[in-house]
């Protein structure tokens, strides 16, 4: 009988939590593709990555939170494990030696919190509409101060249920921090639920607003600025 390839070996591992940025052209990399890109980047960097123990060993990489395609960020988290105890500075330097444009690591540290502690994320959104920014701001403030903010949430097909859309009120989940006009565009800063329990994409809120305002987006620029825990602390 075939045996798992490195079953008998108990290889010691050291865990690291990396913070990385995804900007510019790199923000069009989908989450699935990002996995592969990171795997290769780590392979290229020649750091002693820990391989999973099984029939099909692969390098251990764990992203606790996906970043929507098109959104920029400097706070993304990637957990990896090494087979050697490396200094964080050295790891960071080595990893950044061969990264594609727009993708780079900003921090390496030992993981402190558990993935399930992630509860919310903070975003900054700048949007240019086919209506004046001042008008968009006025409408947006009306939009978020309503008692109910309904969005269409896509439902996956389940037993006895077809794929479709469900109307959900997201008002209780939206935490507005700022809305203003900056550089002639509507500027929004807010936090939304993120993580395993409930995940809300900025896109659904923006789409709902467009429908409310009858406005069309000409330019949109979204950035995730923080990943937060339940108590409001940053995830580390």
């Amino acid at each position: 009988m075939a045996q798992p390839k490195n079953q008998s070996l108990q290889i010691e591992r050291w865990d690291y939590r990396l913070t990385f940025a995804k900007k510019g052209r790199a923000r069009y990399i989908s989450h699935l593709d990002l996995m592969r890109a990171m795997q290769r980047a780590i392979k290229r960097a020649g750091v002693p990555i820990w391989y999973t123990q099984g029939f099909n060993p692969h390098s251990y990489l764990m992203f606790p939170l996906a970043l929507p395609l098109g959104t920029e960020s400097e706070v993304e988290v990637l957990d990896i494990a090494l087979t050697e105890d490396w200094d964080c500075e050295r790891l960071l330097k080595q990893l950044n030696s061969s990264m594609p444009e727009g993708l780079y690591f900003v921090k390496a540290a030992a993981p402190v919190m558990k993935h399930i502690e992630i509860a919310r994320a903070e975003y900054e959104i700048s949007i240019g509409f086919d209506i004046p920014a001042e008008k968009a701001l006025e409408l947006f403030e009306q939009f978020v101060s309503r008692d109910v903010i309904e969005i269409q949430k896509r439902q996956k097909p389940k037993k006895g249920r077809k794929a479709g859309f469900k109307t959900v009120d997201i008002k209780p989940h939206v935490n507005m921090l700022e809305s203003s006009v900056k550089d002639g565009r509507l500027y929004i800063k807010l936090t939304l639920p993120a993580g395993t329990e409930l995940n809300l994409n900025t896109g659904v809120l923006v789409d709902a607003f467009c429908e409310f305002a009858g406005a069309k987006i000409l330019r949109i620029y979204t950035k995730r600025t923080k990943i937060l825990c339940k108590n409001g602390e940053e995830f580390i």
Binding site: A2, G24, R25, A26, Y28, I29, S30, D33, L34, R36, A37, Q39, R40, A41, I42, K43, R44, A45, G46, Y51, N56, P57, H58, S59, L69, G70, S98, M99, P100, E101, G102, I217, L218, R219, I220
Partner: protein, 624 residues
């Protein structure tokens, strides 16, 4: 660049797999546009996922970018959705590195890998904002140049190109760009440049040749209309293949592509001489790289790209003279680095147990064989020198090693094919299934799946079958049904090729310049991405043939005499016409021809081109 980039940033958010259209991958070469003298847009006329898998582009991309003042960039055909987006938003076709419009480049190069990409060439020129006909592009730049295997008969595309490059590109590309760099400051006309370029061996400028036709529609003569052009254009061959340039890094894509792995070329050319196979003749002679070179290139590529899979590329990897030694050398490295070594293109006959183990040690996938014909007699006709015993022997080894899926590839409509041969395909598959049940339960896999797949034979230029008619669609349909009726086991799955595609391929492969207007008309009607089932529109192609008054049967289903002037007879791929005629006659008598390793059969290629076996009188035992 800024303008295109800004437009793209918004549009890509609503596009399928946007990473295909924005560049920025690791390994892509970005230079300062003000500091380069020659800009080359390397276009692959199909979507990114396919084009990025193409080895030739990786080689020529690296080769040109080695020169500080040359900049070669990549360009692919957009999917239908994005092509429409580009047109609606006035985005001209741009190159992925600079995001600059390619109409401003010095060269636009297309690689013609398969006939069904021809309409994409027109679509891409048009998207770039350029006239599709060469005669309407009067400025010096961009010069539209074509290369790749289809260029062995580029006549159907002759009106759209300024020039073609015949054979291997590593040397001639450099010579061509050097000439351009030298002439550019003196602002020559396009004609002046083409005249000089035509003096380079391997460069074919179609406008320098006139074609005349006989009353029966066949070509009567192809002759140069200027002193600058040679009567026959000879393909280029890299004589010292071990020393040829090979890239030390690839552009590593973000999105998954067809062949997403490091690829190392181990040999070029093929010793086999299967009579249907164009690649087997146009890439001759057989040359290989040294083990040291291959090992060095493998390590370098894996380190630079971070790929966890490396594949050895060739027409038949097991024909490498020291294959066992090569594999153990490479496996030492790949095992250590957790890299998966894959070996496509293995032949059945020299497939040893050890070899099988080596492939299986990393990942056990299926086995694929291409017996091509169902009976020994027909395999002799096509000179596919493998026997059923060999197939069975290898399958037994595979089953004993725990393999449970076998894919068998065949062709339908081969010359001399009878119904017995067709039934033989299904019967062979059945014997493979039976063989599985003979292997003890403890050894074999839990289930068996034999996938049978047939493609319609397409006669190609520069093969012994270039004279042969393609089987008529009705005949192929009947034969497909015959196989279905002969299959009894549920363990055999049968799939076959879409009919109209093969006929179109046959017309385009052996067409002359008059077929060009059909391609143009079909494209005008909306045909692009013809190699994709979901986009192929046979009814539009039929309309185009009808409107242009071009008869498909004349090109696809007519037997051509040995005396006929072929549309490609002014092109010299070194293998002689006499050899093809001899091989054709032997095929009809079901006589095989020995391979190059067993002894030279006099195909016409001389020693000077660096072939391992060229000029060898009898079988020489390669040192292991």
């Amino acid at each position: 660049m800024k303008e295109i980039q800004e437009k793209l940033e918004q549009l890509l958010l609503n596009t399928q797999k946007p990473a295909r259209y924005i560049g920025g991958e690791l390994g892509s070469v970005v230079k300062d546009r003000d500091k380069v003298d020659v800009r080359f847009a390397f276009c692959f006329p199909d979507v990114y996922d396919v084009g990025m898998s193409h080895l030739g582009m990786k080689i020529l991309y690296g080769l040109k970018n080695r020169r500080e003042n040359w900049w070669c960039e990549r360009v692919f055909m957009p999917e239908k959705d994005f092509e429409q987006t580009m047109r609606e938003n006035n985005i001209p076709l741009y190159a992925l590195e600079s995001l600059d419009p390619i109409r401003d480049f010095d060269f636009i190069g297309f690689t013609l890998q398969y006939e069904l990409s021809y309409t994409n060439v027109l679509a891409m020129l048009d998207l770039a904002g350029l006239p599709v006909f060469a005669k309407d592009r009067t400025d010096l730049a961009p010069i539209v140049v074509g290369g790749g295997p289809c260029v062995c008969n580029p006549e159907p595309m002759a009106d759209f190109f300024d020039m073609f490059i015949l054979g291997e590109g590593e040397e001639v590309n450099v010579e061509l760009l050097e000439l351009y760099e030298k002439m550019k400051p003196s602002h020559p006309t396009k004609l002046e440049f083409l005249r000089e370029a035509a003096k380079i061996e391997g460069v074919y400028v179609p406008q320098f040749y006139d074609v005349s036709y006989n009353e029966d529609g066949t070509v009567s003569e192809i002759k140069p209309n200027t002193d600058n052009a040679p009567a026959r254009i000879k393909k280029r061959v890299v004589k010292d293949f071990d020393k040829v340039y090979y890239p030390d890094s690839f552009v590593v894509p973000f999105t998954s592509i067809v062949h997403d792995r490091a690829v190392v070329e181990v040999l070029r050319g093929c010793i086999r001489g299967c009579r249907f196979c164009q690649a087997g003749f146009i890439y001759r002679p057989f040359r290989e790289k040294n083990i040291d070179t291959i090992e060095k290139e493998t390590k370098c590529l894996c380190e630079q790209t971070g790929y966890e899979q490396v594949s050895l590329s060739s027409l038949s990897t097991s024909d490498y003279t020291q294959i066992e030694k090569l594999l153990s050398t490479l496996a030492d490295y790949t095992d250590k680095e957790n890299i998966n070594l894959s070996l496509p293109s293995l032949r059945i006959d020299n497939f040893s147990e050890e070899l099988l183990e080596k492939i299986a040690s990393v990942r056990k996938s299926g086995l694929t064989f291409a017996p091509e014909a169902g009976t020994q007699r027909l395999r002799d006709v096509i000179n596919k020198n493998i026997t059923e015993d060999e197939i069975m022997h290898t399958c037994r080894m595979a089953f004993e090693a725990g393999y449970g899926t076998v894919k068998l590839y065949f062709m339908l409509g081969l010359p001399e094919e009878t119904d017995d041969d067709v039934r033989g395909i299904a019967e062979l598959a059945q014997r493979v299934v039976d063989l599985y049940y003979e292997v003890p339960k403890e050894q074999r896999a839990s289930s068996i799946q034999v996938s049978l797949s047939t493609a319609t034979f397409v006669p190609k230029p520069f093969t012994p079958f270039e004279f042969e008619p393609q089987a008529l669609p009705e005949d192929i349909n009947r034969k497909q049904k015959l196989i279905l009726d002969t299959i009894k086991s549920k363990k055999i799955r049968f799939s076959y090729h879409h009919q109209p595609v093969s006929i179109l391929e046959a017309v385009l492969a052996r067409g002359d310049r008059r077929v060009g207007k059909v391609i143009y008309t079909a494209w005008k009607k909306g045909c692009t991405l013809d190699s994709w089932d979901e986009h192929f529109r046979p009814e539009l192609w039929d309309e185009a043939f009808e409107e242009c008054g071009v008869d498909k049967v004349f090109y696809a289903n007519r037997r051509r005499s040995y005396e006929e002037v072929m549309p490609w007879s002014h092109l010299d791929y070194l293998v002689s016409r006499r050899f093809f005629i001899r091989e054709n006659k032997k095929a009809h008598m079901a006589q095989t021809t020995r391979n190059c390793c067993e002894g030279c059969s006099g195909c016409g290629i001389t020693k000077e081109y660096g072939g391992v076996y060229c000029g060898a009188a009898k079988k020489s035992e390669p040192a292991n």
